[in-house]
Amino acid sequence: MLRIIFLSLSMLLTIGLSSPAVAAEISAKQVVEEFQGKLIDVMKRGKELGFQGRYDQLDDAVRKSHDLPKIARIVVGKQWEELTSEQQAKLEAVFSQLSVSAYAHNFKEYAGESFSFISEEETGRGGVVVHTNLKIPGEKDVKFDYMMKKKDDSWQIINIIADGVSDLALKRSDYTSVLSRDGFDALIAKINEKIESYAKQ
């Protein structure tokens, strides 16, 4: 009898202990909202920060919220396997740099934009899609859907679908095309070209 009480007590304890642990886990929605908050913050200070300032501000936020290694892998498709491990590391590095640069370039000024959360949806394969809206004063809302995957204890962005256009699919076609037509070195050269031109403006 004592044993049973002890057992149920300990079970209660574990449940009691584990539920705050679950609650402390960062949800997909939180990851997206934190990142969007950072974006808006950087946009508001965009002019004073300048490109490099925005880049530095966003570097951590982008790397933390996006699974860049996985994205870099997906965008070259099956040709990933044909790359040497050095090439894979190189691609991952420049791709990450390009992703942050693109954010720093595209979100450079603030004109009253705001993100709003709409809904969160589970996909069949253990992913989550977070639906949000970007409101731009005087223009039609832009739908931003974030496709999230769980990595370790947190959720990370794998793909962004803006008004139905999938960033991942777009990049994948773009990158595989360059890779198969012009080869790996040309791909890296083109990515570096883009990084440079983003930094200039």
């Binding site: 997906i74 394969r125 899609v129 496709m147 699919a169 777009l170 198969s180 037509r181 080869g183």
Partner: protein, 280 residues
């Protein structure tokens, strides 16, 4: 399968466009792609959605040249001499003329509620909005919908067909290209000579931002344009209601290296039957 739906006039021009393109595809391939090397080239050369890539790429190059030396300078000067409010007015005016066609295609797709709203929109903007110069309907909550005969054909189950880049007109597909004929016929502007030129200049001026974005972001602008065009059209056809699981499958399939080719054809013909990819 197209023959059932397309008008005879449309069919003739589509057939000739196809003949034209396949003839050029051969020369296009020969002249623009000799430098590619080795086994890596083999896989993506034949994209089911874009069987005439050689022709399309040369047409794309032609259009870009035309844009750089003629259309962009004209559009830039138009933007320079035209105050913003006038440019908005011109855009509103031409959008309003498309309103009849939007209502028509709402009905053809069975979207009766939307057709009522779009009719109200057209009538409001044509009257209170002074012949469409002011988009008062949007302020009243009657949001603009984009519908055209290409979308209607998709809803009716017509396959997307090959991707095509037409001279001056730019990216389209066989299905959308055919749809344009109906869209033009249902647009009053078509029957007033000269308006097409102004509309074209205005459209080009409005596209400035998008074209700059492609220029900045794309490694291969041709492929980038093709993919964004096809995805954009699919989104319009679905009215923005894509299946969440299809997005998930995209990612999973991308990992599944051995099947990535079938993934390509599946992804790009989402709204058509699988056979649509290679309809010729």
């Amino acid at each position: 399968m197209y023959t059932l739906i397309y008008s005879s006039k449309g069919q003739a021009s589509l057939v000739s466009a196809l003949l034209f393109s396949s003839a050029l595809a051969l020369t296009g391939c020969a002249s623009t792609e000799p430098a590619t090397s080795g086994d890596l080239t083999a896989a993506p050369e034949v994209t089911p959605v874009d069987p005439y890539e050689g022709f399309n790429r040369s047409m794309y190059g032609f259009n870009m040249g035309l844009d750089k030396y003629l259309l962009k300078p004209v559009a830039d000067s138009y933007r320079f001499i035209t105050p913003d409010f006038m440019q908005t007015g011109v855009t509103n005016f031409f959008n309003n003329l498309k309103g009849i066609n939007v209502v028509l295609n709402d009905l053809l797709q069975g979207k009766f509620e939307q057709s009522a709203s779009d009719t109200g929109r057209f009538l409001t903007n044509s009257t209170i909005g002074v012949l469409g110069l002011f988009d008062v309907a949007s302020d009243m909550g009657l949001e603009a919908n984009v519908e055209d005969f290409g979308q209607t054909l998709a809803v009716w189950g017509v396959d997307q067909g090959p991707y095509l880049v037409l001279p001056i007109l730019g990216p389209t597909t066989l299905r959308d290209g055919g749809g344009i004929i109906v869209d033009k016929a249902a647009n009053p502007g078509t029957y007033v000579p000269g308006t097409g030129v102004l509309e074209g200049i205005n459209d080009r001026a409005n596209a400035e931002g998008a074209l700059n974005f492609i220029d900045e972001a794309a490694l291969d602008p041709y492929v980038f344009t093709r993919e964004s065009f096809l995805q954009y059209r699919n989104n319009l056809i679905n009215d923005g209601k894509a299946e969440v699981d299809s997005l998930d499958l995209d990612v999973e399939a991308a990992f599944d290296d051995t099947e990535s080719e079938s993934y390509d054809s599946k992804k790009k013909t989402d709204n058509t039957s699988p056979s649509g990819a290679v309809s010729k």
